[in-house]
Symmetry: C2
Subunit: 613 residues, 2 copies
């Protein structure tokens, strides 16, 4: 039943050697890995204006272009830096790998934690923003906002569980549609403004500047705009997902991504300046621009709105592609549970996808799909991992001194300084709005991951055998001692006794806990009729605690074992094939087995007696 549903939703199982066909070309890698970066442009411009306009009013538009160019410069530095990372790390150079290889494990784990937090937030923020875009287009859907967001996250999770290549086609096309429609909007807008000289009247909402532009204000605006750069690292994380030549393809995608972000971000900021866009709770900046360019209620207006909504949803897909990959790497190194390493029946890292789904869906539910409460948590993590990754690359060049190492070290060194400064600006300006949560979670995650690693190391030491040879196998095994608990003489017990005889053990005892003298007498009589050569041992339990008495007896027996001897407990287990009928039977044997499993020298045999139903 469950299997059938799974097959319908996820598609047929794929064999392990079908893995190679499931990789990205440049054409499909671009939309999959860049949708996060590209979609964030749609709110970055708005975020900058939200900082500037309350203070500067009409005078906000000159610094807007300044902030935009600062961010574009940062983007260029990041692209150059990350191209070097892609060259150096063909297996995927996520911040975690780069930082832990060059700066030590702790730096790597800090990078991994901040990235993980950011992936979850990417899903939550993008989905909520996407939902908001839908509900502003169709206000009648407003009451179902949380539900819509939840359905979207679920669809993404299912799409990703189905596997990678199918998801490229499913999720790649809308990204291209967004790029094209937004570029048409920008070009049309620029032609209208610069060639046809159609300048709309300045909005009445704008007041005169209340103060001059200060450095603090500029930095605040800059930190808000930095959300435009989230998602740039996705490409270098995802190298193993590319078709061969993977590194070359990844670099191409990164460069293309930067060009697209550049064009759209600068274009949108320019048009926002021309049309004097004022951020507004009901209409997004993009929507305002597109209504100026195409007019309200035109087809193109709706296309821009729709593709914006869709790409925001698709941005979440970047995280669905990358977080499971990051976790599989962490799992391989033993810093998160091993289960994240296993590929599911459709070859995707199912457990990572499911975890991301649960966490992001919870955030969506808790925040009732409200983007604004999530925003301040965003970006700190990304820039922290940028910084650690750049610093790692810088240290690497200093150590290896290979090729043009001075040139390369300069680029990554500059990247380190710039991203570190940006990270501090973001942390400081958003600290009390929520960044503190992220800065608190990171050390906690690092601590937990270290603990998990310690545990796995201990298990490995415990299980590993340094030299495997025949001396490990005992030549003269000490016969086991068997205890078979009995409650009443019935077919299940008889089956267990017959089974016990096949084990050829002459050191055996039948054990009964006596809570009712009359019942025990009856049992002893019936037992006599069987004429067995095994002693029946009865022990009184005045407090009716059958399990505890039995456990105590086994503990005592285990103390008197010979060296290397095992105590074997045979548990006749009554099995009801209808699961729901199990409630009608005491499940104490489960508890008993659980407790017995903690005893070093005790093995447990379940002899099932299946009811004829």
């Amino acid at each position: 039943m469950f299997q059938k549903i799974k097959r319908i939703v996820l598609g047929r199982s794929l064999k392990s050697d079908e893995l190679d066909h499931e990789k990205f070309s440049v054409l499909w890698g671009l939309p999959i890995l860049s949708s996060d970066a590209i979609s964030s442009v749609s709110y970055a411009c708005e975020e900058i204006l939200m900082v500037l306009i309350p203070v500067l009013g009409l005078a906000s538009y000159r610094p807007l272009m300044g902030v935009a160019f600062a961010i574009i410069c940062l983007l260029m530095i990041l692209v150059f830096s990350y191209r070097q990372t892609i060259s150096a790390y063909p297996q995927g150079g996520g911040s975690y790998i780069v930082a832990s290889e060059n700066l030590g494990k702790t730096a790597g784990l800090v990078a991994a934690s901040s990235l993980a937090i950011d992936y979850v937030l990417t899903v939550a923020v993008s989905i909520c923003a996407g939902t908001a875009a839908i509900t502003s287009a169709f206000p009648s859907l407003l009451p179902y906002k949380t539900l819509i967001a939840f359905v979207m996250v679920s669809l993404l999770a299912i799409g990703n569980l189905r596997g990678m290549r199918e998801s490229s086609i499913l999720f790649g096309l809308p990204t291209y549609m967004f790029m094209i429609s937004i570029l048409i909007m920008i070009i049309t807008g620029i032609i209208k403004v610069l060639v046809l000289k159609e300048i709309p009247p300045v909005s009445a909402d704008l007041h005169q500047p209340m103060q001059d532009l200060t450095l603090v204000l500029f930095l605040k605006a800059f930190s808000s705009g930095c959300t435009a750069l989230t998602g740039v690292e996705a490409v270098s994380d995802g190298i193993p997902n590319f078709k061969a030549p993977a590194q070359k393809n990844a670099k191409r995608v990164l460069t293309l991504l930067a060009c697209i972000v550049f064009m759209i971000f600068v274009g949108v900021c320019f048009l926002a300046t021309m049309y004097h866009v004022v951020p507004n709770e009901n209409v997004t900046a993009i929507a305002q621009i597109s209504s100026h360019v195409f007019g309200n209620d035109t087809l193109m207006f709706y296309i821009v709105q729709a593709t914006t909504a869709i790409i925001l949803t698709m941005a979440a897909n970047t995280a669905f592609a990358d977080l499971p990959l990051l976790f599989s790497i962490l799992a391989k190194d033993g810093y998160v549970p091993r289960q994240f390493m296993a590929r599911g029946s459709r070859l995707s890292f199912s457990n990572g996808i499911i975890m991301l789904f649960l966490l992001s869906a919870s955030l969506v539910m808790i925040f009732h799909a409200n983007t604004h409460h999530l925003m301040p948590l965003y970006a700190v993590g990304v820039f922290l991992s940028f910084t650690l990754s750049q610093a790692g690359m810088f240290v690497r060049w200093l150590k290896t001194k290979e090729g043009k190492w001075k040139h390369k070290a300069f680029i990554n060194g500059l990247g380190t300084i710039i991203t570190a400064i940006t990270c501090m600006i973001i942390a400081a300006s958003k600290f009390f709005h929520g960044a503190w949560i992220v800065l608190l979670c990171i050390p906690i995650f690092v601590f937990v991951m270290r603990k998990i690693h310690q545990h796995y190391e201990q298990v490995k030491r415990d299980l590993d055998i340094t030299e495997i040879n025949d001396s490990l196998i005992r030549k003269q095994p000490v016969p086991t001692r068997i205890i078979l608990p009995v409650d009443s003489i019935n077919r299940s017990f008889i089956k267990a006794v017959n089974y016990a005889y096949t084990l050829h053990c002459d050191n055996m005892e039948i054990y009964h806990v006596d809570v009712d003298a009359y019942a025990t007498q009856k049992l002893q009589h019936k037992y006599g009729c069987l004429q067995l050569d095994i002693p029946l041992c009865c022990e009184q339990a005045p407090y009716r605690n059958i399990n505890e008495t039995l456990l105590h007896h086994i503990e005592e027996e285990a103390k008197h074992l010979l060296p290397q001897q095992t105590l074997t407990i045979i548990i006749p287990q009554f099995v009801v094939t209808h699961v729901q009928k199990n409630i009608l039977h005491n499940q104490t044997s489960l508890l008993l087995k659980h407790k017995l499993s903690y005893m070093r020298n005790v093995s447990i045999i379940s002899v099932p007696y299946v009811l004829h139903e």
Copy 2:
């Protein structure tokens, strides 16, 4: 940890032979078993007036006394009938026992279902009404109504889990306090009215009668007032709880109970008539009377209020004493899960108490501690079980023809007719207000109980051995075939191999599921180093479904067993002593064991390897 908390909350464990000391004398049996019946008087008078006043207004008070006397007559008939039941059933003559012995199992189960529903409702209604009394005295507590009700139910459950005698002292005293304070109120009121001739002015709320008293109206009022009689059957159910001579003591308690109900009910109705009490959402009838008698804000007014609130809570305790007993009887007969038969560490029927707690607490939560929505469900069940019990007694006298059987049959026959008519009146007048739920639930419960009984009977047939002798034990046991699955050669596997050798089995195989060719090669090499005489069998699983492949292999092997041969699967189980660390390890072996337990000829051996932590 859990054990410690349990001991603090519930007290030390009691031995089975301490059971005898935990029984009721007349002094403590009366408050424990009668609080339901006595407390219901506090709302019965009000319920009658609620039916009469909207129609009759000022003219309601003459029929009030008429209805009250009709109910008192019913009470007398019930007391005479139940005294006969107590004589005939020294082991406790609940409706279930009487009806199933004399009218057949189905009648018995109908009685049991209706009683069970009523016990749950008794707890919910009484607790909600008690909470309402508290919140009307202290309106500032109104927002915490549901919480207060929940805490009360919890305290009752804990008190009952602690055991019977301690609960008598804990819960008995307040019942006596209520009786005394209410009797003081009645006597003072009668003296004031009849001797001192203090008649207060008639309330302004009362209108002139809108119509004459009709039979329908009288019957509606009567059916609402019948809630006063719920709880009368508790005494005859609880005979085994009495100290010897149990029957005599039970009869005394029943007679005393009737006298008290008579006095309080008639007294309250009389004073309600004198003072022209009008039901009111904020002030109960008892509170109105007591404020007339003692004046507002006097100490006695508060005492009456408080004891009323407390006795309503204590009424719930009757159900906590009796439902677990009813369920233990049903469990003994195999109509409800066997777990209800077991006495807990404090000798009370813990599972019944916990179930009643869960159900009634749910009702309290669902209805937000609102009494009025629960009321219409009440009383139908009680009178249905009354009727069945009386009819059972009537049939019994006709069959046995012992002693003065004609006289006895007349009393129970009259009881049958009267209670049957009452039951029909209640069902008809409250059907659409909620009685239909009860009338729907009863057949469902009967059906489920029959199904459970069928299951237990089948299990019994399956397990029972008609003739126990040595022919059941196989003289020449067929040696078992052992399969030991291996994932990698580690200490846990070595331990399992060494254990397997102690079983002296020469029909054994090591089985490996191959999901990674390289890992399998390594395994084969290491296995070679061990120089074992057991074959290693490797099977490929291209879909990475290790468990399914293993299960399929076991199924195939099980098909090729010799007659009477067993297949034994040895599962090396890796045990982590810190429970929370289990999440770091694949728990697939649990699922595997669960699925294997459904195979008839497969035994499972767990060889635990406990991590050194």
